[in-house]
Amino acid sequence: MAALINNTVDIVNASRRIKQEEIDEAKKNGVEPVEFIVARDAIAVIVNPKNPVNELTLQQLSDIYSGKYTNWLEVGGEDRPIVRLSRETNSGTHVYFLETVLRLGNKEDKTLFSTDTLLLPSSEGIISEVRQNPNALGYDGLGYVPDDLKTIAIAKEEGGAFVLPSISTVNDKTYPIARDLYMYTNGEPTGVVREYLDWILSAEAQQIVAELGFVPVK
């Protein structure tokens, strides 16, 4: 986003929608952001395979990450401390998780991550910690999660059905933590940038999107 606002790139990839203040900032620099939705991504909540917990509600996840629950016992697991893992605050995944899970989509809610949440700079950091630590709870884009970690089924509310993330559950909107992925250009694209974006939205490229573990838009 910073690169787009400073007008140093033609296309910027983003996993969150641009903020109003960023649009204002960009316009100040003579940049007119244009938005394209190029794929969808589900955020998988992951734990170590040794952890017996299989399902959580959004409310439980929110209470864990805000620091209300600190032991797996409180959400139906073993007597182990919960080690919360998150991406860095500048990652779109982090902001999306904050808004959708911690604040349950409520704009007025001011809940924050517990301060002892580990902020890891990469997906790989989260995955390697979850892989070796049975106390860990993490989240990451579905496309990044390897097979040897356990994905938690999520229910939108207490008593609702617990749903695992997959292409079909994301597209029929039953999996609650899924989002759009964006590309932004400076003004309506022309020339090669236009051609590239047309290709991205073509059936061929969307096939690749599906192969990489993301969810195609069409």
Partner: protein, 298 residues
């Protein structure tokens, strides 16, 4: 002939002079740049907010105390590990090891110093942190202590290399004098050789600590980066977030000229000031030691 010689002399003198001044000028320029980018913070953020204990910049919580305490905790831990270990290694290589051993050990230690810090970070994530979690029965292995261990590893080669050179340059007559007075090998090392090489050994320690406090990549990978205020000794075994890791992780995505951007530069100023203080203390200690040595010799 004479004329061209004096010309050459003149040019060479100026060249050396300007390279000497340039070091000072660069430091001043960097400091000026930091001040220009960092000082606007003070008008944008309240002091009470800056000195709070919550760092969450995307919602305008700019408490830098957890970051300062995190950096100090990791650096202190690294110094506690690296200083005794580094000086001990230097003493062994310079005073005790036989010649063939020294010729193997010194290049090996210097090779360790050339290890890229990312590689050490990988080692930390994949080996050290899982080991510490199981061995010390911690909730997670990504802690300040893990960072201290690896930073200690980074600082040791610097300390060994510089301290060994200092010990090596102590005149042989000093040791022979001590032996002639009936001192044991240990008494000679502890009471004669080490004090004689004191200023060099102190420089070694400062360079090592300087490397540790400025190190970024390794700590970002292994300390967990949780901005918790670290006050108790027990915090050494829980995750912390350092100043360097914060700047590295957040600078890439911050909008140029925003409050968050200015605060990151303010953190840069704090880092700069801390290493300045460390250097001033070190050089004043060295200066005082030298004064006393001159008095004794005269």
């Amino acid at each position: 002939m004479e004329k061209s010689l004096s010309w050459r002399e003149f040019i060479i003198t100026r060249l050396i002079q300007s390279s000497g001044y340039s070091a000072v000028i660069f430091v001043l320029l960097i400091f000026f740049f930091l001040l220009r980018e960092g000082l606007p913070t003070l008008s944008e953020v309240d002091a009470s907010s800056l000195l709070s204990v919550r760092w969450y910049p995307i919602e305008d919580y700019f408490g830098i105390l957890p970051l300062i305490s995190g950096s100090l905790m990791v650096t202190l831990g690294a110094a506690l590990i690296a200083v005794p270990f580094g000086i001990g290694t230097a003493v062994y290589i310079s005073e005790i090891a036989p010649r063939w051993m020294r010729e193997i050990l010194k290049p090996l230690v210097e090779l360790l110093g050339g290890l890229p810090s990312v590689v050490l970070g990988f080692l930390g994530i994949l080996v050290v942190s899982p080991f510490l979690r199981i061995f010390l029965d911690l909730p997670t292995g990504l802690t300040a202590f893990t960072g201290s261990l690896l930073l200690g590893g980074i600082a040791v080669p610097t300390i060994v290399s510089v301290a060994e050179d200092a010990l090596d340059s102590v005149p042989r007559a000093y040791r022979e004098g001590a032996w002639a007075l009936g001192a044991t090998r240990w008494q000679t090392i502890w009471r004669v050789t080490l004090p004689a090489a004191r200023s060099g050994v102190l420089t070694a320690v400062m360079l090592g600590v300087g490397r540790a406090i400025g190190e970024t990549m390794t700590v970002m990978m292994v300390t967990g980066n949780a901005p918790v205020l670290a006050l108790k000794l027990g915090s050494l075994f829980s995750p912390v977030r350092t100043m360097t890791a914060t700047i590295a992780a957040e600078m890439g995505e911050v909008a140029n000229g925003s409050t968050h951007y200015h605060v990151l530069f303010l953190i840069g100023i704090v880092l700069f000031v801390i290493s300045l203080i460390v250097n001033i203390i070190a050089s004043s200690v060295v200066f005082r030691a030298r004064k006393r040595a001159e008095r004794i010799l005269s």
